[in-house]
Symmetry: C2
Subunit: 296 residues, 2 copies
């Protein structure tokens, strides 16, 4: 993938490990209907950036934890991310038939299977955390953090407001309120879980979460810019879809140039939050730069 | 409610406590959009039997645990049950516009809100377990048990097979395979969590789960009978809907009389599984009888 060269070889190796672990987690028993298993695998095992799992593992390493010990949480956050993509693409939601260069789940299978595949991925994420994160108190803290980030005030609330944004004023505040929850919460919790599993101090945990909040915002601004300007090849989804749906986006509110500037500012704020970590923060700095470089 | 008189006054009191706790758990902050909060409350706080939470608390008491300590788990299982009702009623699923005598969520609100309300209830359940069940190792065990019961091989798998049952032979084995997962898993895990929170021994836990499996089956057989014969008043949903959809049901496979007999046999097997508990099993015995008495 084009993104690979921005990461050190070590992080590249994690991507393969993540894919392998996700493959293991989707070896279902006979009680899982074949077409449901196929739909879950079609979405979860599709080639992807694995951005959130990589963030999580990078935070773990930065805080001196074990990659192997954090891998279940990396998989859990990717499961939640994938469920949200599947449900966001549904006809009653964003009605997208194309994602990452492939048919979306309800097009490839059918609508009920797509609803059920998303429904299955949510408890799968918590099952993985509860069974495979050790010790139990860290598992419980990870469940709490991921559940909160996936809940009605964060991921789902952001998506609900994004769908019904006509009820909000079209200003920067409304926009950042939506994306802090719709995209930001899951990115921030990835970093938070990675640091928690490594036993990070409360101060370091705070820095990592701060980085995550800024990074999530930068990520969303760039996503909006890519949607506006990008080709279908680059985005793997139909370009200009957001504008077509009349969605509230950064370029629509701030203009393209101001949006690019804002993305850079926010990415820099993310990097600044990592100061307590010194040189060990280098990989997360590279990740923040990678997010910005997607615009080019 | 008509069901009340079958329970000792003590269990009646729990129902109010459950409703109060669910009300507390749905006091959302400002980050939860109003219409999403309204939809979640509309469904979760609707008058209901609270069958699964009552089972859970009854198991807790039978095993000598604290009702207060188990209440978060009672709420969690009701959240998962409610999400499954909301999503099962969707147009792409069973397409029901009437449930418990009221409009279903997608009729009362809209389809995207119903999808999102269901999506929000799943992580809410795990958030409640991880935050409010103590100690952490019991919280982690509850998360694991509820997540497994809600996952692709249990609740979601059963629903997927129920929707697509035309791929299965219409025999008793297929039917019980569907309902062991679609209805049975959540009923069994309610009892399992209640016993776990009370610190039940592995032997007692096994008896309780065994009771739960039989009870879940009895519950489903009676549900099928009620759907066939019941009036809209009694069921709160359109009678004969299952037959209309060509669903695989017990009366369709076994006939009405044989189905009634099977329900009684299975309920008796549930009661028999409680032998190790002696007199303290009396409330769960009453519950099993209540399930059967719904046919009358």
């Amino acid at each position: 993938m084009a993104t690979s060269t921005l990461f050190p070889a070590e992080i590249e190796a994690w991507r393969t490990q993540i894919d392998d672990a996700l493959t293991e987690y989707t070896r279902f028993d006979d009680d899982c209907p074949r077409h449901l298993a196929d739909a879950i695998r079609y979405c979860l095992l599709a080639p992807g950036k694995r951005f959130r799992p990589l963030l999580l593992l990078t935070a773990t390493e930065m805080c001196g934890g074990s990659i192997e010990g954090a891998m279940p949480a990396a998989c859990a956050v990717e499961m939640i991310h994938n469920y949200s993509l599947i449900h966001d693409d549904l006809p009653a939601m964003d009605n997208d038939d194309f994602r990452r260069g492939r048919s979306t789940c309800h097009i490839q299978f059918d609508e009920s299977t797509a609803i059920l595949a998303g429904d299955a991925l949510i408890p799968m994420a918590f099952e993985v955390l509860a069974r495979d994160i050790r010790p139990d108190d860290i598992a419980a803290r990870c469940v709490l953090a991921l559940a909160t980030a996936s809940g009605p005030s964060q991921l789902v609330g952001g998506q609900a407001d994004d769908l019904g944004f006509q009820f909000s004023p079209a200003n920067l505040e409304s926009l950042e309120r939506i994306h802090r929850r719709k995209t930001g919460a899951l990115i921030a919790v990835s970093l938070e879980m990675g640091a928690m599993i490594a036993g990070a101090s409360p101060e370091k945990l705070k820095s990592v979460i701060q980085y995550g909040k800024h990074l999530g915002l930068a990520f969303q601004i760039v996503d909006d810019l890519l949607d506006l300007r990008g080709s279908q090849d680059k985005m793997g989804k139909r370009a200009g879809k957001d504008a077509e749906l009349g969605k509230l986006t950064y370029p629509a509110v701030l203009g393209v140039e101001e949006s690019e500037l804002r993305a850079r500012e926010v990415a820099q704020a993310a990097i600044d939050a990592l100061q307590p970590f010194g040189d060990s923060a280098r990989p997360l700095e590279l990740l923040a730069r990678f997010v910005i470089d997607r615009t080019q």
